[in-house]
Symmetry: C2
Amino acid sequence: MTNNRQFLLARRPVGAIQRSDFDFATMPLRALAEGEILIRISHVSLDPAMRGWMNASTDSYMPPVALGDVMRAIAVGRIVESRNPGFVVGDHVTGLLGVQEYAIHNGVGLSKVDPSLAPLPLFLGALGMPGLTAYFGLLDVGQPKEGDTVLVSGAAGAVGALVGQIAKLKGARVIGIAGGADKVRYLVEELGFDAAIDYKTENLAAALRQHAPKGVDVFFDNVGGEILDAALANLAHGARVVICGAISQYNNTDAVTGPSNYLQLLVKRATMRGVMVSDYYHRAMEAITTMGGWIQGGKLKTREHVVQGLDSFPDTFAKLFNGANQGKLVLQVV
Amino acid sequence: MTNNRQFLLARRPVGAIQRSDFDFATMPLRALAEGEILIRISHVSLDPAMRGWMNASTDSYMPPVALGDVMRAIAVGRIVESRNPGFVVGDHVTGLLGVQEYAIHNGVGLSKVDPSLAPLPLFLGALGMPGLTAYFGLLDVGQPKEGDTVLVSGAAGAVGALVGQIAKLKGARVIGIAGGADKVRYLVEELGFDAAIDYKTENLAAALRQHAPKGVDVFFDNVGGEILDAALANLAHGARVVICGAISQYNNTDAVTGPSNYLQLLVKRATMRGVMVSDYYHRAMEAITTMGGWIQGGKLKTREHVVQGLDSFPDTFAKLFNGANQGKLVLQVV
């Protein structure tokens, strides 16, 4: 009998996540029912959205993870047993498989991936949910035009680094906001951003005026809080503000800090709109084909931050919120 | 020699406006230069935007009123002397004429109005700036479809009362938010709103859930603050939030309170956009013709709250912020 190690949500976190918010349990795997498959998970994706799924709020796009349930996460793995005619042992699949070693699944909502085309972690990053978010959030919601100034926060993160590079490929001038000299250097020297601002040491308002003297045409926001306010204060006429996330706010114990400067939407005739990646799943092939081509052609660089060992999950997940991750954060399980 | 009484901005207000923020001066009228006209002002429009013009902020769509200058306001009056071939004595004009008895003007930016078509205060309300704001803000930015639920705050105000009625004419279900039983009754019984919520006595969240169980498709916001947050918490999928103003915030001595619930834009794939009436001046005839027809046909009701006497300006202006006005607030000068 095979055991399955899994992280169960033990309580709703208050503020930053602690290891005690989870139970790290070992459970024997049950036999498959007709139609089910057994997946050996190799890599778990760690994404900011997971923090929201841990809250009790009913006001979100997905129900919260129930207490006692396996922590929800996107993952990729190999099928080791199948009682579903649509899936063959040896196939690789990705989907909401959870923070665990094995998943039993009926196959609905899973996508097959081909590990001969790209390393598996890439299917959790540029060729997965963060990639689709960046591609459609920027191009469909942000609609940058050639010559536009595009600003992106969380610019060294999984989504932000793609947003900036896609914007460059579309002829925009790109400014990134990130925390720390290493990330700022990476954005400018490795990814070809026109400028990058270190929000930890620079005066954001002054830096924005310097790097975007005519204002920001597209702001792609992953961070919220003070960074969103600073960007709103420096919009160009007719700007588009893409709300992708608010990682600065997810661990708040008080209410989210709303953007004081939202009336600049009026002054600048600007638009603020949210992007939800699930609205674009039906167009996934367009993004994956295009970005896959860019990656093959050396035009789009990706960086995966792979941490070994399922048991490190709570500490590794925390890196998303303290800025310690360098690129797309992935937990390697086997 | 004729004297001109005028309100000059004496200092930048801190919080609510006080009479001491103005000098009420009497100045002899100078002679006209070539190209100028002299206008005897009959009615001054009192609008929330004027509060913003009094602040030092450089971050707005118009420069602030300079200290010592006549307080900026839209007004309507009759030409009593002209050295401009485009304007004849006896013509009525409207534009930024200021809070004073007489204006000397070069005519640029003024519009002629015909007092035989409508009472003069109407050109400051439904057939003026508030009318254009309501018409284009709702139809162009909010884009209500037949059967949509439209929510409007400041619903008994100059803009809000028009927004709700226009939405009804377009086949929407309309909910107003206003302060006080009289206003709520007026909205439902006189203007035909489907429902109205008294924010002073009702629980806004509960009332919104009750009156808009499927969520709000279009929210037209004149108020900001808690009302904006409550509306954001009750949006329908794909909602449009029209930011027209934030009268709850204009007297703040601290920063504007931003909407905590702005991440609902993401959850609900909603759009928040500002409307600036000046973007629609080139389409003014469309709105005025249409709304003039509705008024003539009894389909659009207007209410002007006319207060006598220029000297009451500071106290009358304050009515906009304490909710004491009933409809479009106008100061009658002669």
